[in-house]
């Protein structure tokens, strides 16, 4: 019997996505657009938050959004009420966005990236797979709603670890569901050390201004 020969490869399985994300990142940088992605579990309020962000920033900045879902154009329809440019990415059976989907959607959109200050990318609702895919964004925000329980960060550490900021949503329901903010903050800090944490309600707009300030700060830091 022949002895197997070991051939060293040392190649990241997701290197193709990493390369595509790097190309996007350079394009975004050259165009001067600040790109922020949103990740969370389904139903934790990404779209509601983004509606508020588009409305608020849309008055003073040129903004646009891509939104990913397995099926339906529902989120894009909701977000278009902000009267800002929005495109839906329907992924079919794929549970996350990857860099090539973002690239294709941007090509199809006909948007001039140079004409934008902010591009938001709402990922498919999923706390697992989106963690592995770089989309070329400047910053990633992870959202956690008060109805999900305080221990979500401990159960899904990878997605929290890869985030630059964490937003606790549906704060208006905190009391009704017995949400323990202290424990939630501690759990987020345990897996995502150093990231700022915001508590907001997209319904009442409470806490929105601090989150918007942070988003503006990402853009300013990028320009320096």
């Amino acid at each position: 019997m022949t002895t197997p020969r070991l051939l060293e490869v040392r190649r990241k399985v997701l290197s193709k996505n990493d390369a595509a994300a790097q190309v996007l990142r350079q394009r975004f940088q050259a165009a001067g657009v600040c790109v922020i992605s949103l990740v969370s579990s389904p139903g934790s309020g990404k779209t509601a938050f983004l509606e508020q962000v588009l409305r608020n920033l849309g008055g003073t900045h040129r903004v646009a959004a891509l939104v990913g879902d397995l099926a339906t154009e529902n989120d894009a329809v909701r977000l278009r009420r902000s009267e800002q440019p929005v495109r839906q990415i329907v992924t079919g059976t794929v549970c996350h966005l990857d860099a090539s989907m973002v690239e294709t959607s941007l090509s199809d959109s006909g948007w001039r990236l140079e004409g934008l200050d902010f591009l938001f990318i709402e990922n498919v609702g999923n706390l697992v797979c989106p963690a592995s895919y770089d989309l070329g964004e400047n910053a990633r925000i992870v959202l956690l709603s008060v109805t999900e329980g305080e221990d979500k960060p401990l159960k899904y550490p990878s997605i929290f670890l890869g985030a630059d900021a964490a937003i606790i949503t549906k704060a208006d329901l905190a009391e009704a569901v017995g949400f323990d903010a202290g424990t939630a903050h501690r759990n987020i800090r345990a897996v995502c050390p150093g990231a700022p944490i915001f508590e907001i309600s997209s319904k009442t707009s409470a806490g929105m201004s601090a989150a918007l300030d942070w988003i503006n700060g990402v853009s300013s830091a990028r320009q320096q």
Binding site: T2, P4, R5, L6, L7, E8, V9, R10, R11, K12, V13, L14, V128, C129, A131, S132, L154, K155, P157, S158, I159, L161, R189, A190, V191, P193, G194
Partner: protein, 90 residues
């Protein structure tokens, strides 16, 4: 091709058991059919601001230093999903 060697970190978002379960099925009808997937589990390494050193952390749910228990400043490794080597029978 007799084996595929993969380095897998707990923070990669990939479940080892699911990968092993689906491997044979995914290889059917390809040059990898009949090969073995050999997974090397990688540790999670953090930078501990208290020890001022690179340390391991045993729990993926808590980024705490195994030596002093302090929370990590940042994570240095543990998200690997890397094809490290192929075993060929020539």
């Amino acid at each position: 091709m007799s084996a595929v060697h993969l380095k897998l970190g707990p923070l990669s978002g990939v479940a080892k058991e699911a990968l092993l379960f689906s491997y044979d099925l995914a290889c059917e009808g390809t040059i990898l059919e009949g090969s073995t997937l050999i997974i090397e589990d990688m540790p999670v390494c953090i930078y501990c601001p208290e020890c001022r050193a690179e340390r391991h952390t045993s729990g993926t749910g808590q980024m705490q230093c195994d030596v002093c228990g302090h929370t990590a400043d940042h994570v240095l490794c543990g998200a690997e999903l890397e094809l490290s080597a192929l075993e060929l029978i020539t």
